[in-house]
């Protein structure tokens, strides 16, 4: 009898966990301020530097070519921010958001996305309290570099066959990859006492999967829809935008 009562409490507890888990909340995958030890914060910044330099050069080249381009690049950055702050339609009424990085990588190229990514992340921290200042390096790596590069690679590899499938998979896989990288970053910072890094990685991947996998699917669908609309209504502008090393041509 006592066992049964005990179990009920546990079931309630599990129900709570599950409800929390299927409620993807704004920026659930930004590592929050304070989560990483200082050494990790610095290390992730250092990892980002080569990519940021590359992105800076790519944007600088485009601006040197024609100064007016800065206006367009800024709009691209603002678009990534706005896309990631809009509440997407959801069945459960929960608050979920796109990352917008997959679309950004396809449209503007992965190199430029590193710079746009870090700026967007700074504004998300300042204006929306998502992410943080010390975790900026780690978040830039997962959302501004790893995700976009994978998304872009997937898009390039598949775009010859079926564009819609390519865009969907690029956004979907880019999103999943961001989530995997973030989980690994957390696992490195907080290894489990028994089993260390690997156990911890499995735990973080597991607990965030129920929010991130459905979100990645929705992101994929929305990215295709947005991409098709952009192609239909703004082909000329899109062509002039493929500014970074590649990008949509």
């Amino acid at each position: 009898m006592k066992y049964l009562k005990y179990n009920k409490k546990l079931i309630a507890f599990m129900a709570f966990v599950v409800t929390m888990a299927i409620t993807p909340v704004a920026g659930a995958m930004h590592i929050m301020e304070g989560y990483l030890p200082l050494s990790h914060s610095v290390a992730w910044f250092v990892v980002c530097i080569p990519f940021l330099v590359m992105g800076y050069r790519s944007i600088k080249g485009k601006v040197d070519e024609n100064r007016r381009n800065i206006s367009m690049i800024a709009i691209a950055g603002a678009f990534v921010f706005v896309l990631s702050s809009l509440k997407i339609p959801s069945v459960t009424g929960s608050c979920s958001h796109m990352t917008g990085t997959g679309l950004g990588a396809i449209l503007f190229g992965p190199a430029a996305m590193s710079i746009l990514g870090i700026i967007v992340l700074i504004f998300q921290a300042i204006l929306l309290a998502h992410g943080g200042l010390t975790t900026l390096g780690a978040n830039t790596f997962s959302m501004g570099i790893a995700g976009p590069f994978v998304a872009y690679a997937v898009y390039k590899a598949l775009s010859k066959s079926n564009k819609k499938v390519a865009v969907f998979l690029a956004a979907f896989i880019g999103d999943l990859f961001t989530y995997i990288v973030t989980s690994l970053q957390l696992a490195i910072a907080h290894p489990a006492s028994s089993g260390g890094f690997a156990t911890s990685a499995v735990k973080f991947l597991g607990i965030f999967a129920p929010t991130q996998v459905p979100l990645a699917i929705i992101e994929g669908i929305l990215t295709v829809l947005i991409f098709v609309a952009l192609e239909t209504y703004a082909e000329a502008e899109m062509k002039s935008l493929g500014f970074a090393s590649g990008g949509m041509k």
Binding site: R68, A78, F79, Y233
Partner: protein, 296 residues
């Protein structure tokens, strides 16, 4: 049920409506479009709070550097007493000195609560096939195990994270984004990045305003009547705000150029000298925190 849904939509519109004000109208005190709203989830009012903070007159570079030092102390010392002191001190600065209401402060703090709960829960517990932990919870074929030290460790992390978050939002609730970008400029961040940040900040408001209008008109035409339609409408609006803003991109640049823009946006920055009391407070804070860390 139906009503409920409509209410929720109304709520969303309100929420979105007060997110941002168009940048063109951004002057010191014109925040009329920005009907204040007790946000639940989107932290949209941080920008509003920053412009209305009573400690906006403090030197932004001082605030920024103090925030960095406080963050490094809170995270680097990794001490529960330091964390609690940070939470209390930052709460004092934001609420008593800055004039943010307790409710607004707390709801900003609670924005990332899901991440914190899920993230730290995973640090606090372990899974095992045998009940080998100090506390074991049985679930069918496996156990969730934990121990007192793990739970204490988890508590310490939660305190540290809240300490860090309170430090960060104390800066953002009292310093408008433009001033923070100004500080970055003083810290010699490349000019191109500063230009991009200033422009992106303004375009965000232009786009948000366009989004709000499009969403309202789509809403009135049953654009969000069911889930599938909602997805299409959302994608339509999202691509449209981009296309519309992009098409006006040239106009924006012309407007800048007609005002003699030559690759550098310069804003009037008020001189805000650091007062002795503020510097004293900062030094006192650092000393107290270090003393606490040394004593425990």
């Amino acid at each position: 049920m139906k009503n409920n849904k409509i209410d929720r939509h109304k709520d969303d519109i309100n929420k979105e409506a007060c997110v941002h004000e168009p940048a063109q109208h951004r002057a010191e005190h014109s925040h009329r479009l920005f009907t204040h709203h007790h946000s639940h989830g989107e932290g949209s009012s941080i920008d509003y709070q920053a412009y209305h903070s009573k400690i906006r007159g403090w030197n932004p570079t001082f605030k920024f550097l103090f925030t960095c030092i406080a963050l490094i102390l809170c995270i680097g010392l990794d001490n529960p007493y330091v964390s609690v002191t940070t939470i209390v001190a930052m709460g004092f600065v934001s609420i008593v000195l800055g004039g943010v209401s307790f409710h607004d402060y707390l709801s900003t703090m609670m924005l990332p609560i899901t991440f914190i709960l899920l993230g730290t829960l995973m640090i606090g517990i372990d899974f095992s096939l045998t009940p080998k932990g100090e506390y074991n919870f049985h679930f069918g074929f496996f156990y969730i195990i934990t121990s007192k030290s793990r739970l204490l460790h988890m508590g310490a992390i939660i305190l540290k994270v809240f300490g860090a978050i309170s430090t960060m939002i104390t800066l953002t609730l009292s310093t408008p984004a433009t001033e923070i970008v100004g500080v970055l400029r003083k810290l010699k961040v490349p000019k191109l990045i500063i230009e991009l940040m200033n422009m992106i900040y303004r375009y965000i408001f232009v786009m948000m305003d366009t989004y709000r209008q499009m969403k309202e008109s789509a809403e009135s035409r049953l654009g969000f009547v069911d889930y599938k339609t909602s997805l299409h409408t959302f994608a339509g609006i999202a691509s449209n705000i981009f296309v519309v803003t992009l098409k006006r991109s040239g106009d924006y640049y012309n407007a800048l150029e007609s005002r003699c823009y030559e690759g550098e946006l310069l804003f009037l920055e008020e001189e805000k000298p650091i007062k002795a009391v503020q510097a004293g407070f900062a030094v006192l804070y650092v000393v107290v925190v270090l003393a606490l860390w040394w004593a425990t």
